[in-house]
């Protein structure tokens, strides 16, 4: 199955998916040193986003979240790709400054958790 969206940061990667059905605030919801989800309300609590194709509806919360994505990357705990349903500035800016391939405008309901996904962020599509 091919899912089409819009490229934010180019790149081609393949990894397993981690899917959050709720919006993510990188400041507060994610531990920048460990790369784990520390928001107890989130169903993925305790799981690591490092090296995953991290899929969630959109970003929320403080604009400092962009810097947290950057810190994850420097700590080698960042997702390998970011996939969003809706356009939102905090995550887009974070992906750009951190060189993390990113696609948005994706129908994320079609992506199962923990499944191998090929991301062609240069052309703005995913292959399951």
């Amino acid at each position: 199955m091919i899912l089409k969206g819009k490229s934010i940061v180019p790149g081609k990667v393949k990894a397993r998916s981690l899917v959050s059905t709720t919006p993510i605030s990188f400041l507060g919801d994610v531990d920048p040193d460990k790369g784990t989800i520390v928001d107890k309300q989130n169903a993925l609590y305790g799981q690591s986003i490092a090296g995953k194709v991290f899929v969630f509806p959109l970003g929320k919360g403080s604009t400092v979240g962009s810097y947290v994505i950057y810190q994850l990357k420097k700590n080698q705990k960042a997702p390998i790709a970011l996939i969003n349903a809706e356009a939102e500035a905090i995550v887009a800016v974070g992906a750009i400054i951190s060189d993390i391939p990113m696609v948005q405008g994706i129908d994320i309901d079609k992506i199962p958790n923990n499944k191998e996904v090929y991301v062609n962020a240069s052309e703005g599509y995913l292959k399951l």
Binding site: A89, A92, V93
Partner: protein, 380 residues
């Protein structure tokens, strides 16, 4: 969004990898918010300066970007401490070192070390109709509503990118068609200085992302309007308000929704933002006090409690005689300083914005009262 040939070359790396990323941020934000093009800006005010707000993540980012240079006049938002007298605030060595590294990184990019939320009290007054990219929320609302300049509420990285490129995406508050009052707040009583802060907070709470219009204010000085805007931007993210004969471009829709403002409701905001009764300090300067305000505070000071005044470096340098219970700090404010680590559990203020963020961001308790009452407070 359309990019010129020159802008595309920057995106492709002609001016190096950092400017390429800055351009990508502007282009992407332009796409997200449906801008048609980038427009030149006259000045930038960068937020995300305090180590308390951006932490190690922001510090490491700014140091990595520190060798790129800004191309327009750029100022800094307040830092987490007075850059010289930080020891007097009780700031730790570790915090101070990291804060100074942030300032060094920003300074080496060509950003002026004038850390204030009121650049208009420090010589940077954008022209009416000019495009700017400012980020501190009360400065944004002041620039749009009182000075008639045009700016969106920028975030740290987007303002920094605008400073490095000298342009910003043309959307939101940069378009005349979006600068129109949509929801009318009717005031039918005389406002004290303190009421302006309460009214702003009230409007921000009930404007529902619409541009507010305020009727019934015949006269207001810049200090009162500064308080009004700061309150509105703290409780509701308001970028612009319209007051007839005050806002340079008074433009409203035909039949705006109306809300009648009751003085009782303003008093209830004061009660909501008061949850302690014995202040460790009384704090003024949110937004930063002007020189005239400081002179008036010193003159009317009757309290024996400790007062901290936050202001611009320019104003602080001009004040010579300071009473023993008053400390004047520049470059910082009680919103972005690590007050919760300075032994302050209960902070008294005359600013709804300061009370709001003290409770939410710093998680300390507050007393919200008019300035005159705080200056006359001589109880133990």
């Amino acid at each position: 969004m359309f990019l010129t040939k020159q802008e595309e070359k920057i995106l492709d790396g002609e001016l190096g990898p950092i400017k390429a990323k800055a351009m990508r941020i502007l282009a992407t934000l332009g796409d997200i918010f449906d801008a048609d093009k980038l427009i030149p800006i006259d000045s930038v005010q960068v937020s995300g300066v305090s180590y308390k707000t951006i932490g190690d993540a922001g510090l490491s980012f700014l140091e990595d970007w520190s060798h790129a240079k800004v191309v327009v006049e750029t100022r800094m938002n307040p830092a987490g401490m007075d850059l010289i007298n930080w020891k007097e605030m009780g700031i730790s060595e570790d915090f101070a070192n990291k804060q100074l590294r942030i300032i060094d990184a920003l300074t080496s990019m060509g950003i002026q070390k004038s850390c204030t939320c009121t650049p208009y009290h420090a010589g940077l007054i954008p022209a009416k109709g000019s495009h700017i990219a400012w980020s501190e929320s009360s400065a944004v609302v002041f620039a749009n509503s009182i000075l008639g300049a045009m700016t969106n509420r920028e975030g740290g990285p987007s303002a920094l990118s605008a400073a490095l490129i000298g342009k910003t995406p043309n959307y939101g508050m940069h378009l005349e068609r979006n600068r129109v009052g949509e929801i009318l707040f009717e005031v039918d009583f005389d406002l004290t200085d303190f009421d302006f802060s309460l009214l702003g907070y009230y409007i921000g709470k009930y404007a529902q992302n619409k541009i507010p219009i305020i009727s019934g204010i015949k006269k207001a000085n810049q200090i009162q309007l500064k308080s009004l805007g700061a309150g509105a931007a703290a409780s509701g993210g308001i970028p612009l308000f319209m007051i007839k004969n005050i806002t340079p471009e008074f433009r409203i829709i035909e039949k705006p929704e109306r809300i009648h403002v009751d003085h009782e409701e303003l008093i209830s905001i004061q009660e909501d933002l008061t949850n302690c009764d014995r202040p460790n300090i009384i704090s003024f300067g949110c937004p930063h006090c002007s020189l005239e305000e400081i002179e008036e505070i010193i003159q009317k000071n009757k309290t024996n409690k400790e007062i901290w005044i936050c202001t611009t470096k320019q104003a602080k340098e001009k004040i010579k005689a300071v009473p023993s219970n008053i400390k004047i700090f520049s470059d910082t404010c009680m919103v972005v300083a690590p007050v919760e680590k300075l032994g302050i559990e209960c902070l008294a203020t005359d600013s709804t914005k300061s009370a709001h963020y003290s409770q939410t961001l710093s998680q300390i308790k507050t007393i919200l009262k008019p300035r005159e009452e705080l200056l006359n407070d001589i109880k133990g």
